[in-house]
C-alpha cells in the first residue's frame, strides 16, 4: 500500500501534465497539416530549431518573451520552407520533412559552434527562462492539490487550452471548415472556389507556430538550456499520434496524455528495480498499442476492404446475412 502511494500520487499527475504538454503542443500543430491533407514529418526539426533560437533570442533580448518570439519565428521560417517545397513545388512531403529535420539537427550544432564556440549544450550564459504562473488563490482553495493547476510555465496552459480552441476552429470557423474540406475532398474545395494552396499554406504556418511554441517550451519552460537534439523524438512521437488520431484534437489529447502518463509512471517504476531498458520502452509500447486500438475502427478503407475480401475468400463469414435469410422468408 505504501509502495502504491509513492507511485500513484498528486505528483504523478503533475508529472503527467508536464511530460504531456510539449508533445501535445507539437501534435496540435501537426493536426492542422494532417487535417489539411499534408503529412508533416518535419515537426521534430521545427521544434528543435525553435528550441535553439528561443535560447539565442533569450540571450540577445534578455527576456524570455523575446526568446519565445524569436524561437517561434525560426519555426515559422522552417514551416514556410516546408510549405513552399511541398505545396508550391509539389515535392515529396516525407523527403522534405526528413531533410528539414536533418537540417535542423546540423544547423543547431553549426550555429552553436559559430556563435558560442562550443559543442554540446548551452547552459547559463544569461538565458532567461519563462516564469512560473501561480494562480492566485489556488493554494487557499485546493491546499496540496493546488499544484495540479498552479505553478506551471505558461506554455503548458497554452497547450491544454489549445485543445478546445482547435475543436472550435475546426467545428465553428470558416478557416477550420476550409482546412477540413481541403484535406478530405480537395476536388470539392476546388469546385467551391477555395484556394487549396492558400489554405494549405495557412495550415502549414499554424503548424509552425505551435511547433515553435513547443520548441520554445522545451528550452525556456521545461528547462532552461539548449542541448544538441534536445527535442529527443518528441516530434516523431507527435507524428505517430497524428497518424492514429487523424488530427482530431480530442484524440490527439488522449494520445498525448496516455503517453505522458505512461512515461511519468515508468520513470517512477525504475526505482523499484525494474531494468531501465524495459521500463523506458513501456510508454512507447503503451501509447502505440492504445492508439492502434483507438484507430482500429477508423482504419483506412483499403485495409478494411482487404480484410473483408480476405474473409470472404476464406469464407469465414460467407455472407450469411443475405443468402440464407432471403429464401427462408419466401418459402
Amino acid at each position: 500500500m505504501e509502495v502504491l502511494s509513492t507511485i500513484f500520487n498528486v505528483a504523478l499527475i503533475v508529472a503527467t501534465i508536464r511530460t504531456t504538454a510539449p508533445i501535445l503542443l507539437v501534435a496540435l500543430g501537426g493536426s492542422f497539416t494532417t487535417k489539411a491533407g499534408i503529412f508533416n514529418i518535419g515537426l521534430e526539426g521545427q521544434m528543435l530549431i525553435a528550441a535553439f533560437f528561443a535560447v539565442l533570442g533569450s540571450i540577445w533580448t534578455g527576456s524570455s518573451l523575446g526568446g519565445l518570439v524569436i524561437g517561434v519565428a525560426a519555426a515559422l521560417v522552417f514551416a514556410l520552407v516546408f510549405a513552399v517545397l511541398v505545396i508550391s513545388f509539389r515535392a515529396n512531403e516525407v523527403v522534405v520533412g526528413l531533410a528539414l529535420n536533418i537540417l535542423a539537427g546540423g544547423m543547431t550544432v553549426s550555429l552553436m559552434k559559430a556563435i558560442f564556440g562550443t559543442r554540446g549544450s548551452i547552459v547559463g550564459r544569461g538565458i532567461v527562462g519563462l516564469p512560473k504562473v501561480h494562480i492566485p488563490g489556488a493554494r487557499d482553495l485546493l491546499g496540496p492539490y493546488a499544484q495540479l493547476i498552479s505553478g506551471y510555465t505558461p506554455l503548458i496552459y497554452v497547450a491544454f487550452i489549445a485543445v478546445p480552441l482547435l475543436v472550435l476552429i475546426y467545428g465553428r470557423t470558416r478557416l477550420g471548415l476550409y482546412i477540413r474540406v481541403v484535406g478530405e475532398k480537395p476536388e470539392a474545395a476546388e469546385a467551391l472556389g477555395i484556394s487549396i494552396v492558400k489554405v494549405r499554406y495557412i495550415a502549414a504556418l499554424l503548424c509552425g507556430l505551435l511547433a515553435g511554441l513547443a520548441g520554445a517550451h522545451m528550452s525556456l519552460g521545461y528547462i532552461t538550456m539548449f542541448t544538441e537534439n534536445m527535442s529527443s523524438g518528441r516530434g516523431f512521437m507527435a507524428v505517430a499520434i497524428l497518424i492514429f488520431s487523424g488530427g482530431d484534437p480530442w484524440r490527439v489529447l488522449a494520445g498525448c496524455l496516455l503517453f505522458g502518463f505512461a512515461d511519468s509512471l515508468s520513470l517512477r517504476l525504475q526505482t523499484f528495480g525494474f531494468p531501465s531498458y524495459l521500463v523506458l520502452a513501456v510508454p512507447y509500447a503503451v501509447a502505440l498499442t492504445a492508439l492502434f486500438a483507438l484507430s482500429w475502427k477508423a482504419r483506412p478503407k483499403f485495409i478494411r476492404e482487404t480484410i473483408e475480401t480476405m474473409q470472404r475468400a476464406l469464407s469465414i463469414h460467407p455472407a450469411k446475412s443475405e443468402t440464407p435469410d432471403a429464401p427462408s422468408n419466401r418459402s
Binding site: K113, G120, Y277
Partner: protein
C-alpha cells in the same frame, strides 16, 4: 667594427636559440577535439597551456569544429608529418577516425582522453571514476544522515543517482557511489535510475523530480546534458544535486552540494611532464585516481559553509583510506 660585433653576437644568439629544435629533444604536442571551449575540454586546454608554460613545449590545438566528414583528414594532417610526439584526442565522435589513423600511422602516439578503446597502439588517459564517485556517495550519505535538522533534508534516508544510459561506464560511477554511501552510512538507501539518453535534459529533470518526490533528497547525475536537467530540477524542487566531470556549482547555486571532478588538466600535464622528463607515454591505460589528484570531490562553497565541520573531516579521512588502499572499491565490469 661595432656593427660587425653586433652582427656576430646576433648570429650566436640566433644559433643558440635554434639549438634545442635541432637537438630534437623539445617535446611537441598536438591536441584535437571539438570541445575545447566547454566544460571538460577547458580543463584540458588549461593543462596543456600549463605544460607549455612550464616546459616550453610546442603546442598545437586543433578544433575539429563540426566537420564530421573530414575528421580523418584532420587527424592525418597531424600524424603524417610525424612532428608531434603526442597527439591528444578528446571526444567520442572522433573514435572512428582515431582508430583508422592510428592504424595507418603506427609510429604516431595518440593519447585518448577519458575512455578506453580496443586498439592496443593508443595511450589511454582514464579516470578512476569509481573512486571519485565513492567519495561523492559518502558525502551524500553523510549529509542525508543529518536528517531534517539540516536544510532541505527529509527523514527518508535515501539518496539518488540518475545515469545516462545503463552502460558499463555509468555502472562504474554508480557502483562507486553506492559503495561509498554504504561505507559512510550503512543503512542509507540508494535509488538509481537511468534516462536511457544523454541528450534529453527534460527527461533528466523529470527523473530527478520523481526521485525527489519519493523522499530522495540528494541526487548524483552522471548523464551529460540529461544531467543538466537534474541540476535544474534540484533548484525547482529545492533539494540537492551532485555534479559530475566539471564544477557544476553554478548550475543551481545553493542546491548543488558538490561536483565529482575529472581533472583533465592534471592528466594531460602529468603525461607531458613524464614525456619531457624522458619517460615517454606507452600504449595502454593510464588511470588517474584520487591519489594522483585525477579525480576529486569539490564542495560548493555556499552549501559547504553550512555543513557541520565533521563532514569535510570525515570525507578527508575516507579519501586517505582509499588512497592508502585500506578501502578496496570494486569496479563495475
Amino acid at each position: 667594427m661595432k656593427n660587425f660585433t653586433q652582427f656576430l653576437a646576433a648570429g650566436v644568439v640566433l644559433a643558440a636559440s635554434a639549438m634545442p629544435s635541432f637537438a630534437a629533444d623539445k617535446v611537441s604536442v598536438a591536441a584535437i577535439s571539438g570541445y575545447f571551449a566547454q566544460g571538460f575540454g577547458v580543463s584540458i586546454v588549461e593543462g596543456l597551456n600549463k605544460a607549455k608554460a612550464d616546459f616550453g613545449i610546442d603546442l598545437k590545438l586543433v578544433d575539429t569544429g563540426n566537420r564530421a566528414l573530414d575528421y580523418e583528414e584532420q587527424f592525418g594532417n597531424l600524424a603524417k608529418s610525424g612532428e608531434y610526439d603526442l597527439i591528444f584526442v578528446m571526444g567520442w565522435e572522433l573514435v572512428d577516425a582515431l582508430q583508422k589513423v592510428s592504424a595507418a600511422y603506427p609510429n604516431q602516439r595518440f593519447v585518448f582522453i577519458d575512455g578506453v578503446l580496443d586498439s592496443d597502439k593508443i595511450v589511454y588517459a582514464s579516470f578512476a571514476e569509481e573512486q571519485g564517485s565513492f567519495i561523492a556517495g559518502a558525502l551524500a550519505a553523510l549529509v542525508e544522515n543529518l536528517g531534517p535538522e539540516f536544510d532541505k533534508i527529509g527523514d527518508g534516508k535515501a539518496i539518488g543517482f540518475v545515469g545516462g544510459r545503463d552502460i558499463p561506464v555509468i555502472r562504474n560511477f554508480l557502483g562507486g557511489y553506492e559503495q561509498g554511501a554504504k561505507y559512510a552510512v550503512p543503512d542509507v538507501k540508494v535509488n538509481s535510475v537511468f534516462a536511457g539518453t544523454f541528450d534529453d535534459p527534460a527527461k533528466g529533470s523529470e527523473l530527478a523530480m520523481a526521485l525527489y518526490g519519493q523522499g530522495t533528497d540528494i541526487v548524483y547525475n552522471v548523464a551529460g546534458p540529461t544531467g543538466e536537467g537534474v541540476m535544474q530540477a534540484s533548484a525547482a524542487a529545492d533539494k540537492y544535486s551532485l555534479g559530475v566531470d566539471v564544477d557544476m556549482c553554478a548550475s543551481a547555486p545553493g542546491n548543488v552540494l558538490a561536483s565529482m571532478l575529472k581533472r583533465g588538466d592534471i592528466a594531460v600535464y602529468s603525461i607531458i611532464k613524464d614525456e619531457v622528463e624522458g619517460k615517454p607515454a606507452k600504449p595502454g591505460v593510464r588511470t588517474f585516481d584520487l591519489a594522483s589528484g585525477g579525480v576529486e570531490v569539490k564542495l560548493c562553497e555556499d552549501v559547504a559553509s553550512k555543513l557541520p565541520a565533521e563532514i569535510p573531516a570525515k570525507l578527508e579521512e575516507i579519501r586517505k583510506e582509499v588512497v592508502d588502499g585500506k578501502i578496496q572499491i570494486v569496479k563495475a565490469k
